[in-house]
Symmetry: C2
Subunit: 240 residues, 2 copies
């Protein structure tokens, strides 16, 4: 029998070169951004860093905005991947446990990637604006939607079609997101240095999730999460 499955062609030398150069440009821009702020990332400087002329950089990106969009997408992707990995590692846990895991993983990734977290969520690129309805909006929804669905399921809403949720579940999800995003954002930017932010975070999230009627997460869940994170060879969260 002859297979009809499409065969993925091996990556050509030229494609590989392109992919590697785009990676290198992103890494370089991310490191300049972290060191010197958005204003220090220039087209000319990037070209120099990879030994190219400014004109030939246009082969890879349409301009600085396109490069920043790519950077933001990659950071969104890394944040999604971090929360998805936690969900997968604890897939056997109760719905209540799994809903608390999302915020725990979000916070952990953010503290380990402060500049990228701020890049995603705070407008700091002068003149940069994400295309309305564009890729970065989809990337944001990819993070937000699984939570809404989990809250819908935990609230006992009939979710027969993917993406469906009750208005109650949507409102509560936005509130929960606002709460953990706010606490993480304050902690990442050193506004909670005066308190035991890790304990307060868990306590406030447990309070809010139970107040909207979700089943409580088991007592040792956060400890199990931190153990998993360390065993997973991820960097330790600097404030833990």
């Amino acid at each position: 029998m002859v297979s009809t499955a499409p065969v993925k062609p091996a990556e050509s030398r030229r494609d590989r070169h392109r992919r590697e150069l785009v990676d290198q440009l992103c890494d370089e821009a991310r490191s300049q951004l972290a060191k010197g702020g958005a204003g220090s990332v220039t087209w000319r400087g990037l070209a120099r860093s990879v030994g190219m002329s400014p004109a030939s950089l246009y082969t890879y990106f349409e301009g600085l905005d396109a490069l920043f969009t790519e950077l933001i997408l990659r950071s969104y992707g890394a944040l999604s991947a971090a929360t998805a990995a936690a969900a997968e590692a604890f897939a056997e846990d109760s719905p209540g446990d799994r809903i608390l895991l999302g915020p725990l993983a979000y916070r952990h990734w953010a503290l380990d990637h402060r500049a990228e977290f701020n890049l995603i969520f705070t407008d700091q690129l002068p003149g940069y604006s994400a295309e309305p309805g564009g890729e970065t909006v989809d990337a944001q929804m990819a993070i937000f939607r699984p939570m809404t669905e989990a809250v819908s399921v935990a609230l006992g809403t009939d979710v027969s079609e993917p993406g469906q949720q009750s208005d109650d579940a949507l409102q509560h999800s936005i509130g929960i997101w606002g709460l953990f995003h706010g606490l993480v954002s304050l902690e990442v930017n050193h506004h909670l240095d005066w308190l035991e932010a890790r304990e307060v975070f868990e306590g406030r999230l447990r309070w809010a999730l139970e107040a909207i009627g979700l089943p409580p997460a088991r007592p040792g869940l956060a400890a199990a999460f931190y153990e998993w994170v360390e065993g997973n060879n991820q960097k330790r969260c600097p404030l833990d």
Copy 2:
């Protein structure tokens, strides 16, 4: 009778000149920051903008960090003043009303001053760090403390000394702050453009304040607040 009250000396010409120049430098730095990001604010550029040599700028600020600290303090001051003015205008309202007013005023100021809001709450100045326990920390506390006290009073805690609160009131205040800060911060940076952010904000805050056991705010409070804001000749919130 001879008055023994100290007479405030009239501001000397030299002091007035100094004050005006410091104001001018702050305005210039704030506008460069909003236009070109943190990386575009330079010592040399600021000196040029006020027609001075870089060396003589040191008469007014110890360096860029000191200037940024001053900018952040002024923004904190403006945010505090906005919430205090709302509290004063509705001083006759119930405790439940007054607790909802803080977040409403916080959100309104932030939407009208997006760059300043991000300047206060997001680290975007490369290499800049606020002095631990320094003035900006005090400025943050000046915003946070009145809320904790209001929550303490509304929860019926005995607050016999100023600054006193129960641990419960502190935990709940941090949660409420996290919630409204998170929602405001997402809205300011265009992450909630897909929903009716103003209604969702009020709804989530009312839900949370009632869930911690506070008396509900009256139904028309938000409408009364927006009316007061407009009558007060403040700029309309761009998303309202």
